[in-house]
Symmetry: C2
Subunit: 142 residues, 2 copies
Amino acid sequence: MEEGFEKFRQYLCEKGLKSTRQRKIILKAFLKSTSHLSTEDLYLSLRKKYPGIGYATVYRTLKLFAECGIAEEQNFGDGQTRFEPSHQENHHDHLVCTACHSIIEFENPQIEKLQEEVAANHGFTTTHHRLELYGLCHKCSS
Amino acid sequence: MEEGFEKFRQYLCEKGLKSTRQRKIILKAFLKSTSHLSTEDLYLSLRKKYPGIGYATVYRTLKLFAECGIAEEQNFGDGQTRFEPSHQENHHDHLVCTACHSIIEFENPQIEKLQEEVAANHGFTTTHHRLELYGLCHKCSS
DNA sequence: CCTATATTGATAATCATTTTCATGTGGAGG
DNA sequence: CCTCCACATGAAAATGATTATCAATATAGG
């Protein structure tokens, strides 16, 4: 979590952007969150404590987070973009149950490694990736 | 391609839906296509030959295709949903250039295999998956 | 051929996201 | 501390993709 703050501070500095009250509030709430938040989710939960914060600011700020690498964008096909804090040490992917919509996270360094190889073979420099396995979870398949 | 028509015919029959001129036209054009078409792409290309076909119909029909399994929805983060014919024999994944939006397809059986293992370890029965690697393609990274 | 019902095309409506713009604020340099 | 100005903010309007509405039309079964 600390590195999140540090990384953001540095990014703002590099780009000549400013550290504002709102950005700090949003960053703190975001890094604390565990689940896959949509902009709306985050906006609504912030709203309770800090009524002044605007929808647009949350959008803009989450996009900033994604740009500087402390957030990852995800799209599970429900029409809303979701974000989650990216912990670069242990990146994880998702198993999505198409019946009960539960989400299980997993890590697999072997897959990650193969992905890098594929990218390299095609002359690609990858910044991030997305892997989702859809199907029925243990409960739903019985 | 033939199975596409057959599968669609059967799906319509099951659901009590009708086989119309437009659906045939759209299905034919869709199955012929190779790339990752957005609804707009398909609409515009159809428009040339069949000016009568409406935007909404293309949307509705592509959604039908996805429901009955002859199309796969994809979302590369450019704000448009794309579709491609699903050829279940040789599934492929995507490298997406975040600068020029070019898309490279690749297959990697090793990754597929590892995915199955992960799913099995979590008691999941997978129906499909999605893997996308984002970054800069050879051209854009120089 | 008739009829009930699904489908179509045009258009309006909706939803997420982005832009606009007037106003406010952080922070570098005095 | 002040001042200044570029950047940021919030509210509202604008945009772009997608979906719903509805009157007119076409399909499939009898």
